[in-house]
Amino acid sequence: MGFDRRLGKGRLLAAWLVCHRELRGLLFSPGTYLVVLLAGLAAHLFLNTLAQSIADSGLAVLSGAFNLPIYSVLFVTGLFLALASVTSISREREQGTLEVLFYGPVDVAAYIGGKLVSFGLAYLGLLALYLVCYALFAGTTGFAFAMPTWAVIGLSIPVVMHVVALGTFVSTATRRVRASLAWFLLILLMLLALQFSPDLLELAPVSNRFYPPLRLARIVLERINLAFTWVSPFALLIKGTEAVRRADALLYVYTTAISSCSVLVLAAGSMYLMWKGGVRS
């Protein structure tokens, strides 16, 4: 149960088997195919609308014809994988399969690592599937895979992993599937609220000196929001998208690095929580 100092062959094997089992579970899960369908339909809708718009107006300016489809994939697939990750560990704990795994040569690093890698590979697999579809579309219409599209695809990987790692962390911290879901949704809502609350409060009559509490609330939220800019996956996605738009390589690398670091920190946090809290339900 304790941390082994060296990452030996046994741990890699255990991590790979945990990852393999998770991927197998996703492969047989109807949810996966539903997500593929939804993302595919959304992408098709965007591309068709775009083609229609160009046919009607004669021209369109886009940073990438496939950016919106990629965002739709990012949203649908990311949400699905996040929900899968958030229920994954608490469900195993609830069912008792987690305990059975830990009877053998499995430790928290192998288990959490294997889980995260499985979700990463699942995302890459789904992304590859979508890209094949887009390539078909690009080939027949003339739409291009512009550099920003590849940059957005590259950005989407750490961002999705960031959300998945957050889900894994929540799943490790809680003991029941329901609690995991509730906490995760609460955290997502909180991050979204932090993201957009200053804009919403902007609509409130804060300039009026009769409303100092609202003014104060907005200042506080702005400050918190600024701090969360470097933690929230939503804020990082916006920042990264802005970096892509501005072709700001430094900001792009910085954003993806921060997102990747967040994944590592959340993974380490998950390992610590599991090590501390044990594997029993």
Binding site: G8, R21, F28, V100, F102, Y103, G104, G278, V279
Partner: protein, 315 residues
């Protein structure tokens, strides 16, 4: 010979109660150890502490000389564990489930090994059925196969026969005996006392978080019941001088009532004691028609030990 399991003052406290208190147990290599106790006695927590799945509040547990807090993967591969509850991964067949663990434990020739073990517990026909669709008994046997798959040195079994039918119990018993014959050590926690009585070389009984007693069953009996009684039915009881038996050191008194001779022994009715009584009866012309010792069963011992009044035994 090194101990397969050893704990030193192992304790585990939760927020509102102490689940395990100063447990120091020892399981020798190549023996079957029965671990008994009523519900809530702390058996499962002790097993979790042994496996390192719970961290002790105090003390330390060694399995195969490896402390629970720093157990190497290599040591874990030498353990076979059957949990109290059998759980299976979604949608996996029995073979896929065993294959997964076979790979995890780096078992060579997995398929062959799976076939052999499934055959031994009579589950070959269900190898490609979904494990979660199995009956409870089948699931328990499948769990046992998983625990044995990598040919572990030490088996820790929590209620291995609780859901089995008599035939299944026999299959498992034979399996465990054969494992013992191959030099393995078996640690069984169970409620099925008759099974433990038949299997175990030594027994440990837990109650209220404490290890009340740990010894062979005979020694436990002796400790609980200082005097045992041998009932003898003689061909001509009136002609036999019962007082002659008092010459034996270990006989405390005799009684002849309703044609049956009761011989009270100081200690257990060991085979040696029984042979001595038999010899004296023969020397005095007595003809023994029937003779049996009335000694404490494991169940009686268990009930006695887990009774609050005999906590003194723990001392």
């Amino acid at each position: 010979m090194a101990d397969a399991i050893r704990t030193d003052s192992l304790s585990k406290s939760f927020v509102d109660f102490e689940a395990v208190i100063d447990v120091s147990l020892r399981v020798e290599t190549n023996e079957i150890y029965g671990f008994l106790g009523p519900n809530g006695a702390g058996k499962t927590t002790t097993i979790m502490l042994l496996l390192g799945l719970e961290r002790p509040t105090r003390g330390v547990a060694y399995l195969l000389d490896s402390p629970s807090h720093a157990r190497e993967f290599a040591v874990r591969r030498r353990l076979g564990v059957l949990g109290e509850r059998q759980v299976f991964f979604d949608d996996m067949t029995a073979r896929e489930y065993l294959r997964f663990f076979g790979r995890l434990y780096s078992v060579g020739r997995i398929e062959q090994r799976i076939d052999v073990l499934l055959e031994r517990v009579n589950l070959t026909h269900a190898a490609d059925a979904r494990a979660r669709d199995f009956s409870r008994g089948m699931q328990q046997k499948l769990g046992l196969v998983r625990a044995l798959l990598h040919d572990p040195e030490l088996l820790i079994l929590d209620e291995p026969v609780s859901a089995l039918d008599p035939r299944g119990v026999v299959e498992v018993r034979e399996l465990l005996h054969s494992e013992l014959g191959r030099g393995k050590t078996v640690f069984i926690s169970s409620h099925v006392l008759t099974e433990v009585e038949q299997l175990a070389d030594r027994i440990g009984i837990m109650n209220k978080g404490r290890l009340m007693v740990e010894d062979t069953l005979d020694n436990i009996r002796q400790a609980l019941q200082p005097e045992t009684r041998i009932q003898i039915e003689l061909a001509e009881p009136d002609r036999f001088p019962a007082a002659a038996l008092l010459d034996l050191d270990f006989v405390s008194r005799t009684e002849l009532r309703d044609g049956r001779l009761s011989v009270h022994l100081k200690g257990s009715a060991s085979p040696e004691a029984r042979a001595g009584v038999s010899r004296v009866v023969s020397q005095h012309g007595g003809v023994i028609v029937d003779m049996h010792a009335e000694q404490m069963t494991l169940e009686q011992a268990f009930v006695t030990i887990t009774d609050e009044d005999v906590e003194r035994l723990a001392a």
